[in-house]
């Protein structure tokens, strides 16, 4: 009498053979996540020596010939926060409309009246125009702040010029800002490649799960499914075999992707290795559950593929697999806690570049494993109902 385990292994071996039967497609399964992770990592990569000195590109238009205005323009052009150049208004408008760059400052005629400004004295204030592309918010706000700082310094310099004459730090603010990075692990250094390799690996695990589910869907529409049903194999073994094969290939994907990341981009597991292993297994379980869910509720192959792609891309984006979650709006960050991808990403980032320990990864592992078990149970239940219905001739 064949044990259920033997049957399950036989079914999993069959899927493993089918996976490798198309060698090119199988190899692509490993290459694509590596390529995408490399591309994403490269885009967001900032070498340590320039991360503190990134400058905002900006254009400066000067429409006033007064020496005070010229001096203010020179201060803007020389500001360490700006990568600025002077242009005419028409050139600035044309460039900003195409986001090349996205912000321009116009020092208008009459701007020099500011040199006579005194606190508490009502005067007509010159209007300093800030041209910006409609899609920019952060750049505009940064430019506003820096312009305010530079112009105020110039005004103060004009007002107390004689008094401060000869001093190098003249109109410097009477305080110093000292940046200090605060994180649970002080030695943690953000590595954009670590983030992108975690994110793209997770995303491709879900895509692999989808492909595996579509294979089951195709199988169920072919004669082989009748043969399998006519044999002694219980449905639970068929489901377990499919989950096992999908999970095993997914685990191989994780291994290959992170090995390549380590060799090429110094992606390391700086935190708990056991935590990483547990999270990898849970994420592979999630891929298996995704596949079975696709097969269970997908209906036709075309419909299942379309819906799955939308869902996977959606949960990838919201879960912070493409860009770090903190860049997303606050409400999205809160909503995304209901997604397994958010937890998986948090966990993987924790045990890679954030140097988190086993207990830092544990909540994420529990969450991802929980999602996988629930989705697997739903898929198994639906497949069982479908099979029962087929056996009864859809009565």
């Amino acid at each position: 009498m064949t044990s259920r385990l033997q049957l399950t292994l036989a079914l999993a071996r069959k899927d493993w053979r089918l996976f490798w039967a198309d060698r090119r497609s199988a190899v692509l399964c490993f290459i694509v996540p590596v390529l995408l992770a490399s591309a994403f990592g490269m885009i967001f990569h900032r070498p340590a020596h320039i991360t503190t000195g990134s400058k905002l590109p900006i254009l400066v238009v000067v429409e006033d010939d007064d020496p005070f205005t010229r001096q203010a323009a020179a201060d803007l052009l020389n500001s360490s926060r700006f990568d600025a150049r002077e242009v005419t208004r028409s050139e600035a408008e044309a460039a900003v409309s195409e986001r090349r760059p996205a912000v321009a400052i116009v020092l208008p005629a009459g701007f020099s009246r500011l040199k006579n400004w005194r606190p508490g004295v009502p005067n007509e204030r010159p209007r300093l125009e800030l041209l910006h592309h409609p899609t920019t918010t952060a750049e505009r706000q940064l430019a506003e702040g820096v312009i305010t700082e530079v112009v105020m310094k110039r005004i103060v310099s004009e007002s107390v010029g004689n008094f401060m004459k000869g001093r190098e730090d003249a109109p410097a603010p009477p305080f110093a800002i000292v940046p200090a990075s605060v994180s649970p692990h002080p030695q943690a250094q953000f590595n954009s490649y670590s983030h992108s390799f975690c994110g793209m690996t997770l995303q491709y695990l879900l895509f692999w799960g989808m492909e595996s589910g579509l294979l089951l869907l195709r199988e169920r529409q072919r004669g082989v499914w009748i043969r399998i049903r006519a044999s002694a194999a219980p449905l639970s073994c068929v489901i377990a075999g499919k989950a096992l094969a999908t999970g095993f290939v997914a685990l191989l994907q994780v291994l290959v992707t992170f090995c390549v990341g380590n060799v090429l981009f110094d992606v390391k597991i700086d935190g708990s290795v056991i935590g990483f292993a547990l999270l990898a297994v849970a994420a592979c379980g999630l891929a298996s559950a995704t596949g079975l869910l696709v097969a269970a509720i997908g209906g036709t192959e075309a419909r299942a593929r379309s819906i799955s792609i939308v869902v996977i891309l959606g949960v990838s984006m919201l879960g912070g697999l493409w860009v770090p979650g903190f860049l997303l709006p606050a409400w999205v960050q809160e909503v995304s806690l209901a997604l397994p991808t958010t937890w998986a990403m948090r966990g993987l980032e924790s045990v890679t570049w954030q140097r988190g320990g086993f207990f830092d990864a544990l909540p994420s592992f529990v969450a991802v494993a929980g999602f996988a078990v629930v989705l697997l149970a739903v898929a198994a239940l639906k497949l069982r109902m479908t099979e029962r219905s087929a056996r009864q001739g859809h009565r």
């Binding site: 064949t2 033997q6 036989a10 079914l11 071996r13 069959k14 198309d22 004669g223 044999s231 002694a232």
Partner: protein, 319 residues
């Protein structure tokens, strides 16, 4: 002394919603016997086979294999059945050996026993030389032979074949039936569905004729092919083009009560009380310009049941 009954269907009904696909069918198949289920598309042949294979539960009635119902021991029931679905139920991406190995494992076979059985099954269907070839390089005939080999692996006493020759050329069909006869002689019980009259006539020991889910006739091909003299003379034809309605009405008026004409799509049925009257009616039809691709006058119940609903062009050409 007759051989024991291996497969028994008693009062089996299969319904899909409101539609009754199999209507209170009872059939016994004995050891070492090839029984053919003959009928047009939609007559319920595949449903009968699915019920016999245990992949479809009958709405009412019982199916027993060697006296045991499926519900008593599904694994033992499954071990008794070798199913050959109409579509080649094998993985195109795998080799012949990989396919058979997997299907063997499904039936609990393993190790050297499975290896021996795989080789034997390949030898039985003459595919040993293609053992390591991928199935997607096989012709339709070779795929069907591998399909059969997959059903033979666990040496089941009962083979159920669902229109196995549907995609085969005449030579492959003949070879396939030679194989089936050999398996019958080896002691297998074989239930096969077909809508080819010649297959039922030449390849089967007994034939059951299905019409709209009912078993309307069952017996040896010789019995079923015996003409029924008392019945009306009938001619079935396949029209080259459907005549216009006014012409149909005109022909019916001229035929009067001597003969009856029915046209459905490009299929034609002409019936009369005697064969002479039928001949006259046919001559009149041709004189009116009606063109027939082929026609056939059925000889007995077997042909009649088949031809009533057959969509395929009939084999006999006009002289």
């Amino acid at each position: 002394m007759p051989l024991p009954v291996t497969l028994s269907l008693v009062d089996v009904t299969v319904s899909y919603g409101d539609r009754v696909a199999v209507d209170r069918l009872s059939l016994e198949v004995r050891r070492g016997e090839i029984v053919g289920l003959l009928g047009p598309n939609g007559s319920g042949k595949s449903s009968v086979l699915a019920v016999a294979a245990g992949v479809l539960d009958p709405t009412t009635g019982t199916v027993t294999m060697n006296g045991r119902e499926r519900s008593a021991d599904p694994a033992a029931f499954a071990a008794c059945v070798g199913l050959v679905p109409q579509e080649a139920a094998i993985y195109d991406e795998l080799t012949a050996v990989e396919n058979l190995w997997f299907f063997g494992e499904l039936y609990g076979l393993s190790g050297s026993d499975l290896r021996r059985r795989v080789m034997r099954a390949l030898a039985r269907v003459k595919l040993l030389d293609r053992a390591e070839h991928r199935v997607n390089t096989f012709s339709g005939g070779l795929k069907q032979r591998l399909n059969l080999a997959a059903a033979l692996l666990h040496d089941p006493p009962v083979l159920l074949l669902d229109e196995p020759t549907a995609s085969l050329d005449p030579a492959s069909r003949d070879a396939f039936f030679v194989d089936l006869t050999r398996f019958r002689d080896d002691g297998h019980t074989i239930l096969i569905t077909t809508h080819h009259l010649d297959e039922a006539e030449c390849g089967c020991d007994r034939v059951g004729v299905l019409d709209q889910g009912k078993l309307v006739a069952c017996g040896s091909p010789t019995e079923l092919l015996r003409p029924h003299a008392a019945e009306r003379a009938v001619l079935y034809g396949h029209l080259r083009t459907r005549p216009p309605k006014y012409l149909e009405r005109a022909i019916r008026r001229r035929l009067g009560s001597r003969a009856e004409l029915e046209v459905t799509g490009r299929r034609l049925r002409l019936s009369a009380n005697t064969s002479e009257e039928l001949g006259e009616a046919l001559a009149m039809l041709l004189a009116e310009g009606v063109e027939l691709d082929a026609y056939r006058t059925p000889a007995g119940a077997l042909e009649r049941a088949l031809l009533e609903n057959n969509e395929e062009p009939l084999p006999q050409s006009l002289p």
